[in-house]
């Protein structure tokens, strides 16, 4: 399923590199990878590509099989798996490594193993590592795990780890306890904005004016129920999710926070002439609530708006 999530833009971006690199190295494009999986499940030892998406004529079929196993081989022994150099550009990384579930072993430029990881999307994990620790990601071995339930993945990871420890006599440095080099950090969440410092503070300016300032001084402001880290309402949660996935820098205000934002709900409803929450403002203008945001997110209008 992971392969299905791949956006079409990534696919287009990677298909050009696919052709370019396929002269020297082989791997599947995300699209063909999907097909690979379906045929692969039926017959573990052989697979073929539909000719419509094959970029190369048939004479390479023999080679392709062995080369392909570099990248999308079903899980085998670590020592039998060939390592694949990590291309410097992320487009090329996407073309080489499949968005599939499985295990992967990362080697530095001296060929020393740094880390064994397991992932539901190997491609995305590798992209992340390449971005955060490029100096440690020279080449990577990949073992795809079909039907990846939790125990199958863990089992696969264990088998590679055990094989490595037996051969090298030590745990890869990245897998040592306390090493966080390879751990994906959750994006840092900002604090919610507050209208006042506390309940007993007398406002010197009308609440309406504070709202007005808040939405005009910040590019994107979401008035939500609950905090951004723990929205109290499904619609607010969806809005936070959309803003996070757009990757836009936004401020949030908890309209349920009576301590700091007392009276905000009623005043905001009048200010925006909008009776429900969440409410999202961009450049001082009300964009709408959850429905409008969702639909603009789907059509791509939203990202256009954020660029303005």
């Amino acid at each position: 399923m992971a392969a299905m999530n791949l956006s079409s833009s990534t696919h287009t971006a990677s298909s050009s590199t696919f052709r370019l690199l396929s002269a020297s190295r082989t791997y599947t494009s995300p699209k063909s990878h999907l097909c690979f999986h379906s045929t692969h499940i039926k017959n573990r030892s052989f697979f073929s590509f539909p000719s419509s998406i094959s970029h190369k004529p048939n004479h390479t079929t023999k080679n392709r099989r062995s080369h392909l196993s570099l990248v999308v081989s079903a899980l085998g022994k670590l020592s039998d798996t060939e390592s694949v150099p990590v291309p410097p550009e992320s487009d090329a990384v996407s073309a080489v490594f499949p968005p599939a579930s499985g295990v992967y072993a990362v080697y530095d430029k001296n060929g020393d193993m740094q880390f064994v990881g397991l992932s539901r999307n190997i491609q995305s994990s590798i992209l992340y590592h390449q971005k955060s620790v490029p100096e440690l990601c020279a080449s990577i071995k990949v073992g795809v795990v079909d039907n990846p339930d939790r125990s199958a993945l863990t089992q696969a990871w264990k088998s590679w780890m055990e094989e490595h420890i037996e051969a090298a006599g030590k745990v890869p440095p990245g897998n040592e306890t306390g090493n966080t080099t390879w751990v994906r950090q959750a994006p840092k969440k900002k604090a919610d904005l507050r209208i006042t410092p506390g309940r007993n503070v007398q406002l010197t300016v009308p609440l309406e004016e504070l709202i007005d300032r808040m939405v005009k001084e910040n590019k994107v402001v979401a008035f939500i129920k609950g905090s951004r880290t723990a929205p109290q309402c499904g619609f607010s949660q969806r809005v936070v999710g959309i803003l996070e996935s757009e990757g836009v820098d936004y401020e949030s205000v908890d309209v349920l926070d009576e301590e700091h934002n007392g009276g905000l709900r009623e005043t905001l409803k009048k200010y925006s002439n909008w009776p429900t929450f969440p409410q999202v403002f961009v450049n001082g203008e009300l964009v709408g609530g959850c429905d409008i945001l969702s639909s603009m997110h789907e059509t791509g209008e939203l990202s256009g708006l954020f660029k303005k």
Partner: protein
């Protein structure tokens, strides 16, 4: 049920329906009570009946109006309901052309 006074006569869903129908001259209108999905929700107080609705409406009056304006037209038509416990609406507002009705 008996304590809900005026609601005895008509459910909120049917009031929403008739209000939207008359104000927006809807070509298509669907009102679905989804309050049950939000029972126990932080902001819904004791009276958790008829608080959340899905509304799908197609109206020629939406022509040339952006989404914010269309939603406001729906909200304006239902101002009384919003004052009296209607908590959230999920709105799909289309012009007849967008909905392929023309």
């Amino acid at each position: 049920m008996g304590s809900r006074g005026t609601n005895l006569l008509l459910s909120r869903a049917s009031r929403i329906k008739s209000k939207l129908q008359s104000v927006l001259e809807a070509k298509f209108l669907e009102v679905e009570d989804v309050s049950y999905q939000h029972a126990g929700h932080a902001a819904v107080k004791d009276n958790a009946n008829e608080t959340h609705f899905n509304v799908k409406v197609v109206s020629g009056k939406f022509d040339g109006q952006n989404l914010v304006k269309r939603h406001r037209m729906v909200y304006d038509a239902l101002a009384d309901e919003l004052e009296s416990g209607l908590h959230a609406l999920s709105i799909v507002a289309k012009t007849p052309k967008e909905a392929g009705l023309n």
